[in-house]
């Protein structure tokens, strides 16, 4: 087991290193940030001073090594635009994104599993077909378009829900800012969270349906029914428990996907999270912030994949035996 974890950790570190090189060289090669940072009327000396102060005059490999050295100390550079550490900027906005992602995850589980179970128990019923058609739409409609339609319907036409920001009433829980404690906060989070959840909701519904259809034919469900247990007990205890395993795995794995997709949702709903920060920084060619965002996301993904791999190997010893042999 230890060998397996060490091996996976080394692989993960390699992936992070490769990605850091790709990201840094890509950002380094293209786009000249001095065009934006230096005032138009600056003379050559002022220009040179700014370039030197940012270390942009050094050759590529020196800049990269300095970046790695600082990154290892948790310093991903200073934002050209905000004059703040890039990592700090991201950490300031991370709670908002996490709040959105967690809310979306909750919505997809709380709605997706019951919908999937209902559709799986009676696959031929009309309502099951409606649910499945809905899930196909959830898969194929572009997230950003659905978001715009939601704004047009609920914010502009009906005026029920606000369409931008996360509200003013932000409270701190254990040091984390959250707007989920007030009704106003919930009204702000509802539209973006539903928008972000749609894709996952469809996925969870389909998974739960497929699982239910498989499980209801198992002997233990037949036996439970033969024992005369109520439908409710059979569904909640025997069926639900057994379909949860694949659903939970996929959810864990796809949480990173939610964070990545929040770029779109945050842009539409002007949600002050890291996705919107990324899009703004790309517009301003704010190199350190782009690099820092990408590194954080890569770390998040590598960590999630690693965690899922380790969980798998704990549950299924065949996985780690195979890996040690290879």
């Amino acid at each position: 087991m230890t060998v397996f974890i060490i091996r996976r950790l080394m692989q993960a570190a390699l992936v992070v290193l490769v990605m850091s090189f790709l990201v840094f060289s890509g950002v380094f090669l293209v786009g000249d940030p001095t065009e934006i940072l230096v005032a138009d009327d600056a003379d050559q000396a002022e220009r040179q001073a700014i370039i030197e102060s940012l270390g942009l005059d050094k050759p590529f490999h020196i800049q990269y090594l300095r970046f790695l050295q600082k990154a290892a100390q948790g310093n991903l550079g200073e934002s050209f635009v905000f004059n703040e550490p890039a990592l700090q900027l991201i950490m300031d906005r991370l709670p908002a994104t996490m709040e959105l992602a967690v809310a979306a995850l909750l919505i997809s589980v709380v709605l997706g599993i019951p919908l999937g179970v209902i559709a799986g128990l009676r696959p031929e019923a009309a309502y099951s077909k409606i649910i499945m058609t809905g899930s196909i739409l959830g898969f194929s409609l572009p997230t950003f378009w659905v978001g715009i339609m939601m704004i047009i319907l609920f914010s502009v036409q009906l005026g029920w829900l606000p369409s931008t920001g996360r509200g003013d009433e932000i409270h701190y829980v254990l040091g984390f800012p959250t707007s989920l404690l007030t009704l106003d906060g919930w009204s702000h989070v509802l539209l973006p969270a539903v928008n972000l959840a749609l894709f996952k909701l469809s996925a969870v519904t389909r998974l739960a349906r497929a699982g239910t259809r498989e499980v209801v034919h198992q002997d233990y469900v037949k036996f439970a029914r033969a024992k005369g247990l109520t439908d409710r007990r059979v569904i909640f205890v025997h069926v639900l428990k057994n379909i949860l395993i694949p659903v939970v795995t996929v959810l864990g794995l796809e949480f990173g996907g939610l964070v990545a997709f929040s770029v779109v949702t945050e842009t539409i709903f002007a949600w002050p999270g890291i996705g919107k920060l990324l899009i703004d920084s790309i517009g301003l060619l704010d190199r350190p912030v782009i690099v820092a965002y990408l590194m954080i996301i890569v770390l998040l993904f590598v960590f999630l994949n690693l965690a899922v791999d380790i969980c798998y190997s704990l549950l299924d010893p065949r996985v780690r035996l195979q890996d040690i042999k290879a």
Binding site: V27, L141, F144, A260
Partner: protein
């Protein structure tokens, strides 16, 4: 195609010797396909989209690129109002005074072109690499599939975002370069799916007798791969190709909406929706809604076709 035809023909004769007239697999697939009315509607939708995209410039009421014919006086007209030059803007005009019907027809061309173009390039690259991985196996296989696995562990939108974010050009970059960039990003995002798909089916096919026979005849590697192996792996690739094209179109629209895709000079449907988003709050819904519906129509049609093709082409579901 010959290999498929021969094989199916043999199967058919074995299955039903009395059936003297052997129908071609194409006809069988077509008649199977037609059994689902929803899929037929999807196919009609796809044909319609392609038709509009091809003959676009001839049916568009105005040329949205012709600056002399676009008047700022016409901006933000509601659907059905008449423009200064007498044409009726059936779906209204956008913020620059362009007729929305015309802009959508041209946008459709760009969206479809970028989606299909990137799909074809990704298909060629992915299939070649997947085939190489399956045919040669060993270390080659391991390296290619490691790259595929690594890439597929990140969501497509993130990979495309990283690529477009790091190679973000200045405001003066020429339009064709932006088109090239987005196609390149979409190719990078898609090739791994094709590689994985074709490797999977090629691994199964490789063990079959006809490949062994071809190898016994001492045919060259490339001949065995392209003339014998590839034609028999084509069915799943068609399915993945249709689904991926829809996905690519949707992704391009999303990226253009985020301002990372196509520039203002090459307005795809996504860019039109993005432009219209600025006016949503003031109730001018049409600039965003109608291009969105066109995008939706295109994506859903392609997905319906792909969904049905998967059922029809899957040998396990036949008989």
């Amino acid at each position: 195609m010959t290999a498929i035809q021969e094989e199916t023909a043999v199967e058919k004769t074995v299955a039903d010797p009395k059936d003297a007239a052997v129908e071609s697999p194409f006809k069988r697939i077509l008649s199977d396909y037609m059994e689902s009315p929803v899929a037929v509607i999807g196919a009609i939708g796809v044909i319609l989209v392609i038709f509009i995209a091809v003959i676009g410039p001839f049916i568009a009421p105005t040329d949205p690129y012709d600056l002399s014919s676009v008047s700022f006086m016409d901006n933000l007209l509601a659907p059905g109002e008449t423009m200064a030059n007498g044409t009726v803007a059936w779906l209204g005009t956008d913020g620059a005074g362009r007729d929305l019907v015309s802009a959508m027809i041209y946008g459709l061309r760009i969206s479809l072109g970028v989606g299909v173009g990137s799909g074809i390039i990704a298909l060629i690259i992915g299939c070649t690499l997947g085939m190489i991985a399956a045919y040669f196996g060993g270390r080659t296989d391991m390296i290619i599939m490691r790259v595929v696995d690594m890439q597929l562990s990140f969501p497509a939108i993130l990979v495309a975002l990283i690529l477009l974010a790091v190679v973000k050009g200045g405001p003066n970059e020429p339009g064709y370069f932006a088109v090239f960039k987005i196609i390149a990003a979409l190719v990078v995002v898609q090739w791994a799916y094709y590689a994985r798909t074709i490797r999977g089916s090629a691994l199964v096919e490789r063990r079959k007798e006809y490949v062994e026979a071809a190898n016994c005849l001492a045919l060259g590697n490339s001949r065995v791969v392209f003339r014998h192996l590839l034609p028999n792996c084509i069915a799943p690739i068609i399915v993945v190709g249709t689904m991926q094209t829809a996905h690519a179109i949707s992704l391009e629209a999303t990226l253009s909406f985020l301002g990372l895709g196509l520039p203002q000079t090459e307005p795809s449907l996504g860019k039109l929706i993005s432009n219209g988003f600025d006016y949503v709050m003031s109730g001018k819904y049409w600039i965003t809604v109608f291009p969105g519906l066109a995008l939706l129509f295109m994506i859903v049609s392609i997905n319906l076709v792909g969904d049905r093709l998967r059922d029809v082409l899957n040998p396990r579901l036949q008989k």
